[in-house]
């Protein structure tokens, strides 16, 4: 049987219609010369409209960002191509035109035309080797890669910094009064205090406890991704950045959209493509950090460029891709399964990836934003615990979930009702989004994979969560960004309760063992 040709018409480039084509992009043939401007235009079209503080559509002149630029590098293909494209487009070619008579930049060196779009560019890499035993540290390889672009300053971070007070203080975070942990064996994720001494309990050991407390293998890459994203955002804020650029290609975007939806992230489907993150730091603190508005745009300028085009760009420009470490056991993760599925589907149905991205761009979250999730700092809905309890009954104790009728073998007198609403429990659950709660609590069919999870060994929380929970200042000030406003307008009481206090509150309802 004859193979179906991969292109629609002829082997000639569809753009110049002269040269023989070198690459087929979704049935269209392009020559090498036409390929470069094609990619450059797609890249600028995705980024230019979001550069100026007031987005005003595509514009060729007068691009001026409100702050510095932070590039998030993973060492993968997308971020390698992104660094190259940003450097070529906005940093290398913007040498001001010289006045022939004076020999100085035309219009003076302070003329807006002669200034860089971003005053300063940073490239940040978050090393995750301590989260995945058996993987190697690639910081130095990434440093060497960034060194080729002399206009970018390299900033190495480590994922365990999320649990480091030193890092948190360095970036100007709100002081942390007390370190907190949660009991992941309960859906309520009850809070308790943990040792604050970093000599005894190092950030690395906390990270490892965090990872080993997760209930499924698939939760590990998701949790690390969330930590990485927040590390980049807080770092960007401390550097006075207005933009955080990520090297998510069209293919990776489609994968992350489907993966996020499969993990219950439908409410933040828009944020997967583009988002504006607002720091939860109080305004006074933000001004001290030199970032008064506290808003950072996360843009994925390669969102219209497929993985294949990125690979061709890297190949034809001789870019060396460090590569990303394969996560041990990660094949069973939802992210990896989605990647395998989408990449496989793309082979037979080449339009699938762009269809997924275009379809998701037509979606918006349903009304009823409750607040911001304390862990991932993305918009979150309320009332999810009731919803979960009604559609999957895990206990007879909650009569609102299980109704008034009881099975014949289970008499009514045996039912211990849940604690009354008036009792306030120091639980993290009400301030988490659906995805984060699922990541921390949803188990595999083979039970939990958590190694160290127990009531006596709480899972440590990242600095930004602890800071928000313990920061009396932001609570007292009623800072609307920092607070999580319950729809019933009740204040969420952030007081730590010890086990005895908790027991006293619900003592009348506990069953004798």
């Amino acid at each position: 049987m004859l193979r179906r040709p991969k292109y629609d018409k002829s082997k000639k480039c569809v753009r110049c219609k002269e040269k023989s084509g070198n690459i087929v992009i979704r049935h269209a043939v392009y020559c090498k010369e036409c390929f470069f401007p094609l990619i450059a235009v797609k890249f600028r079209r995705a980024l230019d409209p979001s550069i100026n503080p007031v987005p005003d559509g595509p514009r060729r002149k007068g691009l001026k960002a409100g702050g510095n630029l932070l590039l998030g590098l993973s060492g993968g293909l997308g971020s390698t191509v992104l660094l190259d494209l940003v450097d070529r487009t906005y940093f290398s070619i913007r040498a001001p035109p010289m006045d022939e008579t004076t020999g100085k930049p035309r219009g003076g060196k302070d003329h807006p035309r002669n200034a860089n779009v971003w005053p300063k560019g940073y490239a940040c890499y978050v090393e995750t080797c301590n989260a995945f035993p058996g993987t190697r540290d690639r910081t130095e390889e990434i440093r060497a890669m960034v060194a080729k672009y002399d206009r970018f300053e390299f900033l190495p971070l480590r994922v365990e910094d999320a649990f480091s007070r030193a890092w948190w203080d360095k970036i100007g975070g709100q002081p942390v009064v007390q370190s907190l942990g949660i009991d992941v064996t309960s859906e309520d994720l009850l809070l308790s205090s943990i040792s604050s001494d970093e000599d005894v309990d190092t950030p690395t050991s906390r990270l490892q406890r965090y990872i080993s407390s997760l209930p499924t293998l698939t939760a590990i890459p998701t949790a690390v991704q969330t930590l990485t994203r927040l590390l980049l955002l807080h770092t960007a804020l401390s550097l006075g950045s207005s933009h955080l650029l990520l090297g998510t290609s069209l293919t990776s975007l489609s994968i992350s959209l489907i993966s996020s939806i499969s993990q219950g992230g439908g409410f933040v489907v828009r944020e997967e493509a583009q988002e504006e993150w607002i720091s939860r730091l109080p305004v006074t603190r933000r001004i001290e950090n030199g970032h008064a508005d506290g808003a950072i745009r996360i843009i994925r300028p390669l969102r219209d460029i497929g993985m294949k085009e990125c690979a061709m760009w890297a190949w034809w420009h001789g870019l060396q891709v460090v590569g990303r470490e394969k996560v041990p056991g990660g094949k069973q993760g939802i992210g990896s399964l989605t990647k395998e599925f989408i990449v496989g589907l793309e082979r037979d149905y080449p339009s699938t990836v762009s269809t997924i991205a275009r379809t998701c761009a037509k979606l918006a979250p349903k009304k009823g934003v409750g607040g911001v999730c304390l862990l991932c700092e993305r918009p979150a809905q309320f009332g999810l615990q009731d919803w979960k309890a009604r559609i999957s009954i895990r206990s007879f104790k909650d009569s609102s979930a299980s109704g008034s009728y009881r099975p014949a073998h289970f008499p009514d007198k045996d039912i211990a009702p849940a604690a009354p609403e008036t009792s306030r429990s120091p639980s993290l659950t009400p301030v988490l989004c659906y995805s984060c709660h699922t990541t921390l609590t949803s188990r595999s069919s083979r039970g939990t994979t958590a190694v160290s999870a127990s009531k006596d060994n709480p899972m440590p929380l990242p600095m930004w969560v602890t800071s928000n929970l313990t920061s009396a200042a932001s609570h007292a000030a009623g800072d609307e960004v920092g607070g999580f406003t319950d729809p019933s307008d009740e204040l969420w009481e952030r007081r730590k309760m010890d086990t005895e206090q908790m027991k006293a509150t619900v003592a009348d309802f506990l069953l004798e063992k």
Binding site: A219, I261, F341, T355, T359, P365
Partner: protein
């Protein structure tokens, strides 16, 4: 190893591991949580009013067999006050429906519910066997899907019911969310997670098993000893849906909550207002009176294509243009009877128990 106690009643011996939660529970607690979750779904969405006449779309497969059983149980336990009917569609596929329809007839006797079987042949003058012999196996699912949807509505109108319930389960809905995203069907994506759909000119249709896992439906049928037929349609080689289904099973293996998580995602987003404004307004088919996006509804277009020997007319734009070039439809063209919403009295006699 000592037998484990049920995680729910902590009393009886655990007999199964719940696919949805991973909990090890006893059989009685499983029946209880399964039925109560369906009850919660029904009451939370306020699906029924006392006195409603409800048709259960019964195919004789696992979902509808269990649905009929659970609907009858809940109706009696919680005094819903519903009048329940069974409604079956016979597509006319030799060897596919014969056994399943026997199951439905047995359910009719077991549950003492009136049954109506409506065939494609009776309604459209075509069986699926005849359609496949003309169009081949490639696009026949389009005919079957469109014809079945209308047939259910028409059967419900004949029974004069207010509401149709179908056995779509959580796996089906999660799969549909993924499929609609992957093929860019924004209109269906916007409504596929709704538990109840009702237009001005259609009969209310809902899915009480929206949050019930397929595996648990099978488990329920197994422990309750309900018999059903698991028959794959001999004409359905939908490779794309097959990929999506296999992917969903992988996700479920990685984390069982993935199915519910996808449904939750589907419920958390909606189509943007600007996009909604560009969607077509619903109208009424000028030939049969059924809801339609065009002058002619899809079923009428497909039927006209079949009758005029140009089956592609309802499949592709090219086919439709070719049909238009042939001139207007002949006067004596076979058409679908005019659709009327329930009038108050059944227009057909329902099957009686032999």
């Amino acid at each position: 190893m000592a037998p484990r106690a049920c995680a729910l009643c902590e009393n009886a011996k655990a007999m199964l591991k719940r696919p949805k939660t991973g909990q090890q529970i006893c059989r009685e607690c499983f029946f209880y949580v399964f039925e109560t979750e369906v009850h919660n779904t029904i009451t939370q969405s306020k699906l029924f009013q006392p006195g409603d006449r409800v048709a259960i779309g019964a195919s004789g497969g696992k979902d509808s067999t269990v649905l009929a059983h659970v609907m009858k149980t809940l109706n009696e336990r919680y005094n819903y006050g519903l009048e329940l009917f069974l409604l079956s569609i016979d597509e006319g596929i030799t060897g596919y429906r014969d056994d399943s329809l026997e199951t439905v007839k047995r359910n009719q006797q077991q549950y003492d519910m009136p049954l109506k079987i409506l065939s494609y042949d009776e309604l459209y003058g075509w069986t699926m066997d005849a359609i496949v012999s003309q169009v081949g196996r490639k696009n026949n699912c389009t005919f079957c899907g469109v014809f079945r949807r209308q047939a259910l509505d028409r059967g419900a109108a004949m029974l004069n019911v207010d509401h149709i319930v179908t056995g779509h389960n959580a796996d089906d809905i999660a799969e549909t969310v993924l499929m609609n995203i992957m093929r860019g069907d924004i209109a269906r994506l916007g409504r596929c997670t709704a538990i109840c759909t009702q237009g001005e000119d259609t009969i209310k249709r809902s899915k009480p098993f929206k949050y019930a896992y397929e595996k648990e439906i099978v488990m329920y049928a197994y422990f309750k000893k309900l018999d059903y037929f698991s028959t794959e349609c001999i004409y359905s080689p939908d490779a794309y849906r097959g990929h999506a289904r296999a992917f969903l099973k992988d996700l479920e293996a990685a984390r069982p909550s993935a199915i519910i998580d996808i449904i939750h995602s589907g419920e958390a987003f909606e189509v943007r207002e600007e996009v909604k404004a560009t969607q077509r307004v619903q109208q009424t088919c000028k030939r049969c009176g059924y809801i339609s996006s065009n002058e002619l509804c899809k079923a009428c277009t497909l039927l006209e294509g079949l009758e005029r020997g140009m089956a592609n007319a309802g499949i592709s734009d090219r086919g439709r243009k070719q049909l238009e070039l042939q001139g207007p439809a002949p006067e004596n063209l076979r058409t679908i009877p005019l659709f009327k919403l329930p009038s108050g009295n059944p227009t057909v006699a329902i099957e009686t128990t032999p």
